[in-house]
């Protein structure tokens, strides 16, 4: 009985070992595999038009966002848009989603996250040999793009990088509140002429005159109260069928991904890492091709900060696009403008 069971296990393993994924270029690719890196098995889902020979490696925001989850519900609605033109590689960052493996919290670091990106980039180049790889990071994911380019940019493994709604500063950086003050100044001057909120923005301008710096928690709260009127909320409700799809019909165990406070610990760990990194001072080391995009009403990555980032990058091929009537989810707020900008960059 024991020997038959052993033979069955060996047969099963042999069967699995023989079935290496055969990634062929396709206008509707749907390839799924795992990258083992530093004791973690990171899932990678390549979907869309691999025949284009252009793959955008999507780096989710958060920290703690799950790229696989975003792909499963098609949160950005790229299945019918961007994925028709290019392939997008979604993945779960270490400690998020349904990571498997024996890693622990000590490996959840900016350095390891960028190393993981490097591993995935190398694997994509290995599996899709004709394809150009682009990084596309949103918010915290864009912050990781800066870190990746700072660490590995010289190896020139990626054809270009896109940072969407991606600040380089953190809450620990004094520069951040200088940018935010400038942002409030800019939108208040722009919107004070609108009759419906005129008094609100007039109050904001008066407050700014009284407070040349934003430093205390009370001043930061006041700033929030002023800017939240202009925040553009992404119109993307999650439907019950999408939730059911994620829970019951996905490469998911819901409890690993969302329950029991693991994401909060990852988020805190990455925030602490960011507070010490001072990426805002290291941007001049980045000289690779890069596109920065933000929304005019993004209060997390305000255009005022993105302009400073653009100026500090050493790249000769760099561009900043500010999308009008868009906030922190510009791909959802202005999908057509977003797609046009991407098509212009990924040529």
């Amino acid at each position: 009985m024991n020997s038959y069971f052993s033979y069955f296990i060996i047969f099963l393993m042999g069967l699995m070992a023989a079935c290496q994924p055969n990634v062929q270029p396709s206008p509707q690719a749907n390839d799924y595999f795992h990258v083992k890196t530093a004791d973690a098995f990171l899932p990678v889902w390549v979907r869309g038009n691999t025949s284009s020979n252009k793959i955008l490696l999507y780096i989710a925001g958060g920290p703690g966002g799950s790229g696989i989850d975003i792909a499963k519900v098609d949160y950005q609605r790229w299945k019918e848009t961007l994925e028709q033109d290019y392939a997008i590689a979604y993945y779960d960052q270490r400690g998020t989603g349904n990571n498997q493996g024996t890693f622990d919290l000590s490996s959840v670091t900016l350095s390891q996250y960028t190393s993981d990106i490097q591993q995935i980039v190398q694997l994509l180049r290995d599996q899709y040999k004709e394809a150009e790889i682009y990084l596309m990071g949103h918010s915290f994911g864009g912050y990781l793009v800066y870190h990746y380019l700072h660490e590995y940019g010289q190896e020139e493994l990626v054809a270009g990088s896109i940072a969407l709604n991606a600040p380089a500063s953190t809450d620990a950086d004094p520069e951040r509140w200088s940018y935010r003050r400038s942002y409030l100044q800019g939108i208040a001057q722009e919107l004070v002429a609108h009759p419906e909120d005129s008094s609100h923005w007039q109050s904001a301008l008066s407050w700014l005159e009284a407070y040349p710096e934003i430093a205390t928690d009370e001043e930061k709260r006041q700033w929030n109260q002023f800017v939240e009127v202009a925040v553009v909320e992404a119109d993307r409700p999650i439907t019950i069928s999408e939730v059911l799809g994620v829970v019951f019909f996905s490469p998911y165990n819901y409890f690993s991904a969302y329950a029991y406070g693991k994401l909060e610990q990852v988020e805190q760990q990455m925030f602490q890492e960011g507070y010490q990194s001072r990426m805002i001072e290291k941007l001049d080391r980045i000289d690779q091709r890069i596109l920065l995009m933000t929304g005019r009403f993004d209060d997390i990555a305000p255009p005022e900060e993105m302009t400073v980032i653009l100026d500090q990058l050493s790249s000769t091929d760099k561009e900043l696009i500010i999308i009008p009537d868009a906030g922190h989810d510009l791909a959802l707020d202005q999908p057509a403008l977003f797609q046009t900008a991407i098509q212009g960059f990924v040529r």
Binding site: L12, M13, M16, H34, K36, F41, Q122, P251, S256, K262
Partner: protein, 191 residues
């Protein structure tokens, strides 16, 4: 230490023979991780104790069983798992054959993660179709069923058993799964 405990339990569990005095049951059925990720389970168990077996069908009867189950679950893009779990079940059988009870299990799970690539020292990638991880699992379940030997004179029971599984090690300690098992129990040595 956990591995040694598992091996001790595995060794102890089969250390009984098919006895004329104690009913022995074969069970087989469906097991689904989050219900829909399907698998199969088989097992063998023996009744250790019964409150009053002769009164089955006349008054409620409690019984205690122990055994071993093996399960294979296919969660396509996540992992295929093989699980071996010694378990203890408490079952209360009503005079009309309705059964309810609870189950506790502690065992071993091997998760086979599909399509794994790992960089080697030369900078190329080696492929593994069956890389995976080892875990200790603990399950607790509630059993609902029908004993068909009482009204229909069949040595069978049908059951459904939702269960909660805790798996360790995992990132930040453990993770949890919800499973549903449904199947048939067949009494091997009915007199």
């Amino acid at each position: 230490m956990t591995n040694k405990l598992y091996w001790i339990l595995l060794l102890l569990a089969p250390c009984w023979g098919i006895s004329q005095d104690h009913p022995v049951f074969l069970q087989a059925g469906y097991i689904g991780e989050t219900i829909t990720h399907s698998g199969l389970t088989i097992g063998l168990s023996q009744q250790l104790w019964s409150s009053d077996e002769s009164a089955l069908g006349q008054t409620p009867v409690s019984s205690l069983r122990w055994g071993v189950k093996a399960a294979a679950i296919y969660h396509r893009r996540m992992h295929t798992s093989l699980k071996v779990t010694p378990h203890v079940d408490w079952i209360r059988t009503q005079p009309n054959g309705f059964e309810w009870g609870a189950s506790l299990a502690l065992g071993y799970k091997r998760a086979f993660i599909p399509d794994v690539f790992e960089a080697n020292e030369e900078g190329t990638f080696k492929f593994s179709g069956a890389a995976g991880t080892n875990h200790t699992v603990m399950l607790a379940g509630v059993r609902l069923g029908k004993n068909l030997s009482i009204r229909k004179d069949l040595p069978l029971s049908i059951y459904v058993q939702p269960q909660w599984m805790i798996q360790t090690p995992y990132f930040l300690g453990s993770t949890h799964f919800f499973l549903v098992e449904a199947g048939i129990t067949y009494q091997l040595n009915r007199s």
